[in-house]
Subunit: 137 residues, 4 copies
């Protein structure tokens, strides 16, 4: 099972008055995670769109365990949780800098739409690469 | 049961290349919603912090039903879903401009912490006002 | 000379660890200001784009005088500073809640481009309305 | 003269409906740039704050030359433009991915304040390191 890892340094613009990352900014990290996951499979999301498909988020969740402080480097771990005909889910873990402590976890579910925003089957060029890394149940 | 309503106009800075609000920006709207909910109870979150308590988000969820387009005015509906000794949950609905169509819904769960980030009971000045509006089960 | 005014309440997601609005977020306020300015002239920026024109920012500036604190309501004042054949400039003032103190000021310069991102003359439907409110020199 | 370089990949959350980076998000990049500049001098901005000093932005400017597209990697170049008793200025260049084309440039001016937000001389631990890299005039 493939797990993609990418790092991000928390900036001042990410944090709030508590000195910790604003809860809404974790979803930017989830995006960074899944984009890297796809890139490691040779899939550029920009190309997915060029080929006429979009994968908008239909559902997301995040559990915050421990704060992500200013100027620390977090690791974003991403894996493919499941894959259906016209939708898929990514799971994420946000890990802390020194000790690899789990700071947060969550998921995003995506629908596969065409240019007219109609639900369509995930195209084969995408499906083939994703099937190779899907989680066995 | 109290439901707070507040409006927000989608700006260019909120949207992405699909011309619709970026999924991570809905969590700013949830914040606007719960702040107004508290304000209508005579509770300013700024004061909550001044009195030594913080209510960080420990869990959040959002389901995206229909896109929120640029320059439309969304309505954020907020209610208190439940209230425990040291935590509480707000539920949100995001409604569209003309037809009041439900664009998204979600929730945030908050812990009550003191200045040292230790979990504490929700203080009575907060609890008293929240209990008056809690959902009956 | 027309001056447009619109209000915005500072949220937790706007501020940083100093408890004040992150400097980069003022540019969202400038956008809110100029969109309202245009709307008051009967011009919806969404329509400008639909008719095939975009007005990207080519230059911006902001001077920060006094902090904009959490949960205060700022007033964004916008006026048209100048208007040329293919560009225009808006000036902004950010005013504080109670005393109307000037918290910041700045400007944005915009080019007029067509769909192919080529510089073009500002179209007459836009120019006519803007000329009526331009600053006399 | 020291020039610090750091890279950033443009995410979906950074761009707007034109498919290019929202003009207000460049100021996040400027922050990434100056933080790396200080870090290369052995100065962590987090420590500057711990020692009782803050360096809020008092003025900023950005000129946008060419768009920064989704999923491209930009390079942020930062240098110290000048250094006074109680203020300093950083200059930035944003460079494109393949050809190193200049996409934007700008600056930030910072005041040196103490914990009570009173203007103070830049402390020697900061001044000494910055003086070693200042631009000769």
């Amino acid at each position: 099972m493939k797990v993609s890892k990418v790092q991000y340094r928390v900036i001042y613009g990410d944090i709030d008055a508590m000195g910790i990352t604003y809860y809404g900014n974790y979803f930017r990290w989830f995006e960074i995670g899944r984009t890297e996951f796809l890139r490691e499979l040779g899939l550029c999301y920009r190309d997915v769109e060029r080929w006429g498909f979009i994968l908008p988020v239909t559902e997301t969740f995040c559990k915050y365990i421990s704060p992500a402080y200013y100027d620390t480097v977090v690791t974003i771990e991403t894996k493919l949780a499941w894959l259906k005909k016209a939708s898929l889910r990514f799971d994420y873990k946000i890990l802390g800098q020194e000790d690899g402590l789990e700071l947060a976890n969550g998921y995003t579910i995506h629908a596969c739409l065409d240019r007219d925003r109609k639900v369509v089957r995930i195209p084969s060029f995408l499906l083939d690469r994703l099937e190779g890394v899907k989680v066995l149940s």
